[in-house]
């Protein structure tokens, strides 16, 4: 048909791919749309604009933005150290950056909770200062920082590696100091990669469930994130309400996915330029 290729395997490979995707992705998504459509528009609005839902959205999106912003800064710092400096343990640190990908989220969740609880290593240090992390909004942020960190580092790292030293040398020759060189010459080239990392880190944090639910304490209207609210509605067999809340999160995910694709294309172009 369209392939016009001498290579075999188009029809069988395509059939398998489409069958798999159809059963696993398309069918479930269609049932999601139908389930949401069981609600009238007014009912739908009532569910997604209820104070509890609004607070959950606010917390999920707000904490994810704050967490991604922290990762933007420290992710750049880590990538910089990994690419620019030679120090003992650099390879180990490089491998460790992927730890949040590899660690099951429930393990990360209970571990962070143990660390930041008032009796924990870090919580004990912060308690005399009057800072509570576990079971507060700060705890939600800490978990989101943990899961999102690798995205910024891994987006920025290859761009930093490929940055040609000549432009920095030129800046130095023309009288710029190191700080000016960083702000005016290096940073502009890093923005596409930084924004990609920010968006990926945000997208991961918004939907995160496992590592957040242990440290957040899950109090409705206080530390209840949107994925947990979906979980609660499912456990009450209130499927239409669960799908309504999920539909808002899905809409945000799709917008993000689109933005990330555009950002990555931009980032790729600036890498090749």
């Amino acid at each position: 048909m369209y392939s016009r290729s001498i290579l075999p395997g188009f029809n069988s490979g395509m059939s398998l791919t489409l069958l798999y995707l159809g059963m696993l992705v398309v069918l479930p998504l269609i049932s999601l749309v139908f389930k949401t459509a069981e609600l009238t528009w007014d009912q739908y609005l009532a569910v997604v604009t209820s104070p509890r839902a609004l607070h959950a959205f606010w917390l999920s999106f707000g904490a994810a933005i704050a967490g991604a912003a922290v990762n933007l800064f420290f992710g750049l710092l880590l990538a910089w150290a990994l690419v620019r400096y030679e120090f003992p343990g650099r390879r180990l640190l490089d491998a460790m950056v992927d730890l949040p990908f590899a660690l099951p989220t429930s393990v990360a969740g209970i571990s962070l909770t143990a660390l930041f609880a008032p009796s924990g290593w870090l919580g004990g240090l912060l308690a005399p200062l009057g800072i509570k992390v576990a079971y507060t909004v700060l705890g939600v942020m800490v978990a989101m920082i943990f899961v999102g960190l690798p995205f910024v580092v891994r987006s920025v790292q290859p761009v930093l590696e490929d940055l040609s030293p000549e432009i920095e040398e030129a800046a130095l020759m023309l009288g710029a100091n190191r700080w000016q060189t960083f702000i005016r010459v290096i940073l502009p080239g890093l923005w596409p990669a930084l924004l990609t990392g920010f968006a990926l880190s945000f997208a991961r944090a918004v939907g995160e469930y496992g590592s957040v639910v242990f440290i957040s304490g899950n109090m409705p209207m206080k530390t209840e994130i949107a994925p947990l609210l979906i979980m609660t509605r499912l456990e009450q067999f209130d499927y239409p309400a669960a799908t309504a809340i999920a539909s808002v999160m899905l809409a945000v995910s799709f917008v993000l996915l689109f933005a990330i694709n555009k950002l990555q294309a931009w980032s790729q172009r600036s890498l090749e330029a």
């Binding site: 099951p104 393990v107 990360a108 994925p227 995910s253 993000l256």
Partner: protein, 289 residues
């Protein structure tokens, strides 16, 4: 992609290779390095250390008891079964999707790639939820399977399906860019010389992609072992029956059996460290050429 590995299989060189770069003053270098290592220590090393500390706090006896009691063993068995089904299925899917996408031209390719990326960009809770909608009360498939006396939700098939869903992009995502970059000349030459389709795949394509394939399989396995959110929605948390290891961690923790919970967690941490080590080794192989 928004939820998966941020970097695909690519070669990496050590920092000192390549042109020498201008450096910051020594004091600034030390300050930045200290901040970077401090942050990594706080957010990456400390959580891992805390798991082992909390697990061993009450002594080795309690530790081994926690990881060898029947519920823990049945959770380990269930996780292994899930991995043994999900990873081969997703490998088969990944290879055939990558073959079609990288070697042929057809309309709608971009849509197909987006669909493959989908599980990375949605919340694990939503991934689990779609199966509850399909197979739960009043779901399309649920009522059909009820008639045949089959149970998917709150039983092993549901767990496997949710895991397959969450982990299916990993192999495909690694292979698509790799195989696209390699082009199709070598395969075309093999076919013109009279090789059959399978011969071409086994003798030409597979040797070219084996390290990238292995890389994808490692990532897929790590995620399949550790998946929590999606599995949590469909499992129903029945001890000894539908608890995978990550779910068993949660059940123990919510039961205030903290030491046991961390002991079981430490097994998962070890598996995660092993998968990181293999991944790093594969990246270094690629860098060495």
């Amino acid at each position: 992609m928004a939820g998966g590995p941020a970097r695909s299989f690519r070669a990496r060189g050590p920092a000192h290779e390549g042109p020498r770069r201008i450096q910051e003053p020594a004091w600034a270098r030390r300050l930045l390095l200290a901040a970077a290592i401090g942050f990594a220590g706080l957010f990456l090393a400390l959580p891992v250390a805390a798991v082992f500390y909390e697990a061993m706090k009450e002594g080795a006896g309690l530790y081994f008891e926690a990881i060898t009691e029947p519920d823990a063993l049945s959770a380990i068995r269930l996780t292994l079964i899930t991995v043994a089904i999900a990873v081969p299925l997703n490998t088969l899917f990944g290879v055939s999707a990558a073959w079609v996408i990288s070697k042929f031209r057809f309309p709608g390719k971009q849509v197909l790639i987006t669909l493959i990326d989908l599980p990375f960009s949605i919340s694990p809770v939503i991934s689990g939820m779609v199966f509850v909608l399909l197979f739960g009360r009043g779901g399309w498939m649920g009522s059909l399977l009820d008639k045949w006396g089959m149970k998917v939700l709150f039983s092993v098939p549901g767990l496997v399906m949710a895991t397959v869903f969450v982990t299916f992009p990993f192999v495909a995502r690694e292979l698509i860019p790799l195989m696209t970059a390699q082009g199709k000349e070598e395969e075309e030459a093999a076919v013109l010389l009279g090789a059959s389709g399978w011969q071409t795949f086994w003798r030409v394509t597979l040797p070219n992609i084996r390290w990238g394939l292995l890389y994808g399989v490692v990532l897929c396995t790590a995620r399949a072992m550790g998946e929590f959110g999606a599995v949590s929605v469909v499992s129903g948390h029945i001890r000894g029956q539908t608890n995978t290891v990550p779910l068993h961690v949660e059940v123990l923790y919510n039961d205030y059996q903290f030491t046991a919970s961390f002991a079981v967690s430490s097994v998962l941490v070890l598996m995660a460290l092993v998968s990181l080590a293999i991944k790093t080794w594969l990246e270094r192989r690629a860098a060495a050429g």
